[in-house]
């Protein structure tokens, strides 16, 4: 438990804390994705700690998470004297770049062409499951996946159709946008609006505070944006708060311009 909030910053950090996911390695991935995704970008160990700790995360948890990320090949670290610097590996940068367009797009460009892949009942399932892992598909049913663009070459096992959606029943909308995702999204809209109301002028916010708040916003939005399939509007329930949430995210990020990395150590 944290102490009672003492400043606008503590209150914002408390408001923006994801009630669902405090996995530190995942927060660090959000942070690098937001601030240090380019080759050569490095975050010093002390900057990293100072950005993350206001979320109520202990230094030990950060060390454990960095260890895991290094082990998984996401992050590498270098020492210079007593200081350490952390950076995304090539693998980590590639993963990060893969999802960035979906996270950082202000106006998602919904494809107009779609295709369906259908697996044979029973034995054909594994071929479809492989496609679902390798690319961005929306699983309409166990044996049916919807993907953007024209149908790709799919080997001998899957039936493929180029499709245009006609009627979208409620069970499909519930699959595209399950109740807990809608709840997360609504919770985030609320948090963003409350945080926005507390935010002082840009001049009063330190680079480290900016980095912390951006990280928290992006981390929470990332979990909504990446779970929400890129489907035409008709696949979503009419009360789906996704677009409102995206707008609120970018309104708040615009008030917190990305600090330069060297500002974070000078602070």
């Amino acid at each position: 438990m944290r102490d009672a909030p003492q400043s606008w910053f503590d209150t914002c950090a408390q408001i923006l804390t994801d009630p669902q996911n405090q996995r530190v390695w995942s927060i660090i991935v959000s942070l690098f994705g937001d601030l240090a995704q380019c080759p050569g970008d490095r975050l010093s160990g002390s900057a990293l700690s100072r950005i993350i700790m206001p979320m109520g995360i202990k230094p030990e948890a950060i060390r454990v998470a960095l260890h895991r990320l290094r082990k998984d090949g996401w992050i590498d670290s270098a020492r210079s004297g007593r200081a350490s610097a952390h950076f995304l590996t090539e693998f980590g940068r590639a993963r990060s770049a893969e999802v960035s367009p979906r996270i950082y797009t202000r106006t998602p460009d919904t494809p107009t062409d779609w295709h369906l892949l259908i697996a044979e009942d029973g034995s054909g399932q594994s071929a479809l499951d492989e496609m679902l892992l390798a690319a961005d598909y929306f699983s309409l049913a166990r044996n049916v996946a919807l993907g953007a663009g024209p149908a790709p070459e799919v080997g001998d096992e899957l039936m493929s159709f180029d499709v245009h959606a006609r009627a979208v029943p409620d069970w499909v909308r519930a699959r595209a946008c399950p109740g807990d995702l809608a709840a997360s999204c609504r919770g985030l809209v609320d948090a963003l609006e409350r945080a926005a109301a507390l935010l002082p002028s840009e001049a009063e916010i330190t680079p480290l505070q900016t980095a912390t708040l951006r990280m928290m916003i992006v981390h929470r939005w990332r979990r909504v944006a990446l779970r929400q399939p890129d489907l035409p509007a008709q696949f979503f329930p009419p009360d789906w708060p996704g677009p409102r949430c995206r707008a609120a995210v970018f309104r708040l990020l615009d008030r917190l311009p990305r600090p330069a990395l060297d500002q974070l150590d000078a602070d």
Copy 2:
């Protein structure tokens, strides 16, 4: 068992007998569909017997089948003096007219527009099953049906797409054209070619013989034509004998022009 064949006609009748289906009521349906589908068309009891009996079917079996068809509302009968006349009911004519286009089309006009209906895993199945009963759908998977034309209005339960097929895998071809259907079709091609070789000139064939042979050809072809879904060529295996069979059917029917109903009693 029948006696050894004595004439071209007996041999042809033997060749054209369906090895699979001698259900008399179904043969009678084929006969009415071919010769007496119009309002007012009637077949006398004696003509009916004389057309059907060369298939090796006993008068008693014909009486039982007529009884069943009357009970099911397909056929009605009228007496005038000692003679009886049989005719399709309005229901029977409607059923007959429904399937006639698929049976009698020389060059099937494969639709270019198609749609898919997809049911929710589990609970949505019954909505799809109802559609499959009511209209002409090809079941691609338990929960996926392919139909001709643009997607219809389908209520709230089914997801519908307008589609163009891209890749058709072998398991779909095997569904469109199962092994036993291909075997029936190949058997019929063979029978038609052997019968065609035996057929004398038109002048040497009596109207009753014509009626019998037409009935046998149509009956057997009907079972292939109606089981074969109306799908684009790419859904069929390259060695699918369907088109060759259809051509052979019409070559033989053209040599056996439909007799007028009054010729069948005058015989």
